[in-house]
């Protein structure tokens, strides 16, 4: 449905944004206006999207949903410190190359039989050189796969802030021209321009050059209403009243000074736990057993328990 729209010439933009949101909705992803607009622009302008924000607000989920909505394959590159181009782009299959030379030795002899001079033999060999430096021996890594894929794909470059600054510079060629150079083969251009999503948890500043090439979106914790909507969608078993109580508590926890605030995915996990435990309301005992799903530090847990306890006492007085 979505692709039909993007191929259409005359269009109505309002519908387009609505359609983007609807398409993401079919993947159980609730998109804000902002997200829908940025995805629309990414598709229209063919630019990569850089999504920043705290951990667990659905940045990675967005790319999965987008791949699902557009019916494209998702290719994921997880970044980490020390990631280099042999892991991200391509690697020669040395073993296979050596094996082939060994196996083809006879054939090579045949080829060279009858050449009168050394020069002629060399020329004949050179004519066959391509065999050894071809796609056949190229082991594609995520980036090359995304570029050479026959079908359009969605490329997710996850947690780019964890990769080194050099790797970021290396990405620039791919992100702006969608092509890579392999010295032995030449430049490979993308058959279909992939939709690229980069995510960052902002553990370090990304370079200006990278940011310049991307559309930017800052995804923050959702508001009460949209988080409730997400919980209702993802955990249908939870009663509406309990769901709204749970989300309210999560939102309050985010307002507190904690080492790590609960993310949306943790809210969902917690909601699932509540369903599993068949909880009817958020009483003391339920909270004691399940709060550790939301908060991952002992000090945070203690702080939250104290705050909730204080409130309960306040209510009973």
């Amino acid at each position: 449905m979505l692709m039909r729209f993007f191929n259409r010439k005359a269009h109505n933009v309002f519908n387009a944004i609505g359609e983007v949101r609807e398409a993401l909705g079919t993947q159980q992803y609730i998109a804000s206006d902002e997200i829908a607009t940025v995805m629309f622009l990414a598709e229209k302008l063919g630019k990569p999207v850089l999504a920043e924000g705290p951990a667990g607000v659905g940045k990675t989920e967005l790319s999965k949903a987008w791949a699902g909505a557009t019916g494209r394959e998702l290719i994921r590159l997880q970044c980490y410190e020390g990631l280099d181009e042999t892991k991200a782009l391509y690697e020669w299959e040395y073993a296979k190359q050596l094996l082939y030379t060994q196996l083809l030795r006879d054939k090579l002899n045949d080829l060279l039989v009858g050449s009168k001079t050394l020069g002629e033999a060399a020329d004949r060999l050179a004519a066959e050189e391509d065999v050894f430096f071809s796609d056949r021996f190229l082991l594609p890594r995520p980036l090359l796969r995304a570029i050479t894929s026959d079908k359009p794909v969605t490329l997710l470059i996850d947690e780019i802030d964890r990769a080194d600054a050099e790797f970021e510079a290396f990405l620039l060629e791919i992100l702006s021209d969608f092509q890579v150079s392999v010295p032995e083969i030449g430049t490979i251009k993308a058959k279909h321009q992939p939709i690229v999503l980069l995510t960052s948890n902002n553990t370090r500043e990304l370079s200006e050059a990278l940011k310049r090439r991307c559309l930017y979106i800052h995804i923050d914790y959702p508001t009460f209403d949209s988080e409730l909507q997400i919980v209702n969608l993802k955990v249908p078993g939870l009663s509406p009243k309990l769901a709204s109580q749970a989300v309210e508590l999560v939102q309050r926890l985010r307002g507190m000074e904690l080492k790590k605030h609960p993310s949306v995915s943790e809210t969902i996990d917690w909601a699932r736990a509540l369903v599993e435990l068949n909880a009817k309301h958020l009483d003391r005992a339920t909270l004691d057993t399940t709060l550790s799903v939301l908060l991952k530090y002992e000090s945070d847990l203690a702080k939250a328990r104290r705050a909730i306890g204080r409130e309960d006492r306040g209510r009973s007085n």
Partner: protein, 466 residues
């Protein structure tokens, strides 16, 4: 419309958001795709293409309405719409007569707009304002109501009432019914107040724009670089922050380049085979594992009153270089040592520095480096290993306490390097209560850091391999 977008981008730049030419081109392309009919969509498209830092978003949101704001509500009525055809003709005729010989010009325009209900475009309003009102110097939003009233007075906005009365009088003479007149007056007044609101908004927009332009002067970087720390004025500290961010970026790329040149590691078999594929596997071009020289830093800062600004800049610089450092621990002392690493792990450097300075306050004459070194040697010596560079940032003035050279020596034995940054001139070392001369022979390097340039050079030297 494009003009307005360009102006907006200018204003964004002026208020400190970095927007490149490529990005402004992207913004125009994005708007081609979304159109401008939907304000919300337009705003989001502009934001996604122009603003690339979360902390710049508030600035964008503040400026946007003053350029593209929904504006004040349009004038609601077309006066005289409910009158009979005959009356309407009379109205048109009278209006034309009045307008024909009305002066001054701006009043004629306003009156025409008010009586016809045709909204003036923002450009027209701007023109009106720039021609007929004096532009004030006020840029503080607090003065907006006052500035608006002044603009109204200069436009002679009050006289619209008189003119309306005059028109009504003429129509009454011409025999238009009282009921129709009252309705006309009502409609015209509603238009008038809408017009007033629109003008108010434009005045506000102008003030914001001027404020953005005023902020344009870039800080005199060279001058700031050489200014001694103790002679920095309070308001220059913000400028310094911007300078430090840039210097840190330079330092970072310099450090990264140095790392790449380092080629003295082990043989990298994979990379060698890969590089020599084109020589049929004969290793002509031997590759080595890149040795990443990422120092571990331990910073011990003197937080006594005189040292505070330097400590703040130093920590900002060190923490801006985090990706070139494998681990940083920081400690602050006045009379005793505090581990402040956690503050920096949990929040942004500028916030953390603020928090630390709030928490650890200097008293009078209680700096005790000796005691602090003892605490460090007792509790934290385990964190120092042969890859750690320990930096002491202080003036070495110890209030005649024991300099505790024994523990200082112990730290030096464990560390890769022990470096001292001192803001005082070497001449002053050893004078008064300064124990600096006792420490100097034990240090691998001593740098004088009395201004930002020296500080940057000193920090840079930490990344030079030896």
């Amino acid at each position: 419309m494009d003009d307005r977008i360009i102006q907006f981008i200018d204003a964004l730049r002026a208020s400190g958001v970095r927007v490149s030419v490529a990005e402004s081109a992207d913004a125009l392309r994005a708007i081609e795709a979304t159109g401008i009919a939907d304000k919300e969509l337009f705003r989001l498209a502009m934001r996604a293409t122009l603003v690339k830092e979360a902390h710049d978003i508030p600035e964008f949101e503040k400026l946007f309405p003053s350029f593209f704001g929904t504006g004040a509500p349009p004038m609601p009525n077309q006066p005289g719409g409910g009158m009979s055809q005959e009356d309407r003709d009379k109205l048109a005729q009278m209006l034309e007569q009045m307008l024909a010989n009305m002066t001054p010009e701006q009043l004629r325009q306003l009156f025409e707009a008010m009586m016809s209900g045709e909204n003036m475009s923002r450009e027209q309003l701007q023109q009106l304002l720039s021609q007929y009102t004096s532009q004030g110097q006020m840029t503080n939003p607090y003065y907006q109501p006052w500035m608006t009233r002044r603009a109204m007075r200069e436009l002679q906005f009050d006289r619209l009432d008189e003119l309306l009365q005059e028109l009504l009088e003429k129509l009454r003479e011409a025999g238009v019914s009282e009921e129709a007149l009252q309705q006309l007056a009502q409609e015209a007044r509603e238009n008038q107040s809408a017009l007033a609101e629109q003008i108010g908004q434009e005045v506000g927009a102008n003030m914001l724009r001027r404020a953005a332009e005023e902020r344009r002067q870039p800080p005199p970087i060279d001058e700031l670089l050489d200014r001694p720390f103790d002679r920095l004025r309070y308001e220059e500290i913000d400028d310094m922050r911007a300078v430090i961010t840039r210097l840190a970026a330079q330092l970072r790329s310099r450090a990264a380049l140095r790392q790449r040149r380092g080629n003295r590691g082990q043989l990298d078999a994979k990379a060698t085979i890969r590089a020599n594929q084109r020589f049929a596997g004969v290793p002509l071009d031997v590759r080595h594992k890149k040795k990443h020289l990422k120092p571990k830093l331990t910073v011990i800062c003197d937080l006594s009153t005189s040292m505070r600004p330097i400590v703040a800049f130093m920590l900002m610089l060190v923490y801006a270089l985090q990706d070139q450092v494998s681990r940083t621990r920081s400690y602050a002392f006045v009379s005793d040592l505090f581990d402040i690493s956690n503050d920096f792990n949990e929040s942004r450097p500028d916030v953390a520095i603020e928090a630390v300075q709030q928490r650890i306050r200097p008293g009078y004459y209680n700096t005790d480096l000796g005691n602090s070194l003892a605490t460090f040697a007792r509790d934290h010596l385990g964190t120092v290993d042969r890859r750690t560079t320990v930096i002491v940032l202080g003036d070495g003035r110890n209030n005649h306490n024991d300099p505790n050279l024994r523990d200082f020596e112990a730290i030096r034995r464990r560390a890769r390097k022990l470096v001292w940054f001192n803001p005082e001139h070497p001449r002053q070392w050893g004078t008064g209560d300064s124990d600096m001369l006792a420490y100097v022979p034990l240090c691998d390097a001593v740098h004088r850091v009395s201004n930002l340039r020296e500080l940057v050079d000193a920090v840079d030297s930490l990344f030079v391999r030896r």
